[in-house]
């Protein structure tokens, strides 16, 4: 078998390992499955895609046979109100972007904000975060807030771990605590943040991972996320949703702006800002 083929295998096998982890397969077993697949590929000399199919499919079949538990989606009784927005109205030039929008999010709930482009989703979130002022309306927040913009929000010339220390100090975290907390959260998104790469040299998707980790650093009670998954590949996008469900289980109130609807069955509230503008419970 030539070198080129074994290199292909490594990529496929690494992807398989990641997918098995995402499906909640026990780590030792996952290692065995990957090793066995590697041996089989060596013996047969055929391409992985032909023998096993795409890594996601094979991993799903394995998880199914093994009876692995999908990371549990906890849905207990929602807690006290954490975010209350009432009558938010905002006008840009002559154009009414938001008219009397209401939203209540409790601890342990996820609210998705959807709507067409230009319907004011980002503006609404920025108003909730206190980064913009509405023409009318009030927002009340119980606890601390973490915000993740669609892009930006990082310091070009600092490396990720320095970001952790910087934001962590604001939350009152000691340096080492901040760094290890950041590393732990980054691992959940399949990212190693140690290393000397400055933020300006990170790829778009990685920069957004940094953004997301920074939003959650220091355990804020309310999380406001503005389509933070720009540049995420499919696997990371799934990891991101698992992170949201973990946060929900931990009792946080989350508002996420999204235009991808296929995860909506796993959120508690949907706020639709399209021109009809009705909040849907």
């Amino acid at each position: 078998m030539n070198h080129g083929q074994s290199v292909n295998h490594e990529g496929w096998l690494a992807a398989l390992a990641g997918e098995l982890r995402r499906h909640g397969v026990d780590r030792d077993l996952a290692g065995h499955v990957v090793a066995e697949a590697a041996t089989h590929l060596r013996d047969s000399g055929e391409a992985p895609l032909r023998v096993f199919g795409p890594p996601e499919t094979y991993a799903a079949a394995v998880a199914d046979s093994v009876g692995a538990a999908e990371p549990r989606v906890y849905r207990g009784a929602p807690g006290p109100v954490r975010l209350e927005a009432r009558g938010i109205t905002k006008r840009y030039r002559r154009h009414r972007v938001l008219t009397g929008v209401d939203l209540t999010v409790r601890a342990g709930e996820i609210a998705a904000v959807v709507g067409a482009n230009g319907s004011g989703k980002s503006t609404f979130l920025r108003i909730c975060a206190g980064l913009a002022s509405p023409d009318r309306g009030q927002v009340r927040v119980h606890g601390t807030v973490g915000y993740c913009p669609q892009s930006g929000g990082t310091s070009d010339f600092l490396v990720p771990e320095e970001h952790f220390v910087l934001v962590g100090a604001g939350r009152g975290l000691h340096r080492d605590t901040a760094r290890s907390a950041g590393r732990r959260q980054a691992a959940g998104l399949d990212w190693d943040p140690t290393g000397p790469t400055q933020a300006r040299h990170l790829s778009g998707g990685t920069r957004q991972k940094l953004n997301l980790v920074l939003a959650g650093l220091g355990d804020p009670d309310v999380l406001l996320l503005d389509e933070p998954y720009q540049g995420f590949d499919r696997g990371t996008y799934l990891d991101f949703w698992h992170q949201l469900w973990d946060w929900r289980a931990a009792g946080k109130a989350i508002v996420v702006v999204t235009h991808l609807l296929n995860q909506l069955d796993r959120v508690d509230t949907v706020l639709d800002l399209s021109p009809v503008r009705q909040p849907v419970g």
Partner: protein
Amino acid sequence: MCRVDQERRGQWLRGVLDLCVLALLARRESYGYELAQSLNAAGVGPIQGGTLYPVLLRLQRTGLVSAQWREGTTGPARKYYRITVAGGETLRQTTADWATFSGGVGAILREVSTR
């Protein structure tokens, strides 16, 4: 040899693959790739790894086979499967059921070929 419709063949295979694997393991212990080759040689194949290994895992989980990693004499370490006592019981019982079932199917279909 006539070319069987792939979808129907897939359906047949789903019903009997675990049985065939158990039968092969009843003769002697084996590892994944070797099993795939035996199945192919017997005319049931080609069985891809993506189909075979989940079956092996399920058999392992239900206690019908046991597995062991062993250093190979040639090549890398391999996971060897062997049939358990419970597996042998299940195999005996299900083979009997299969004989009855396939006999019935064969009887119905024989009428077609004799027409």
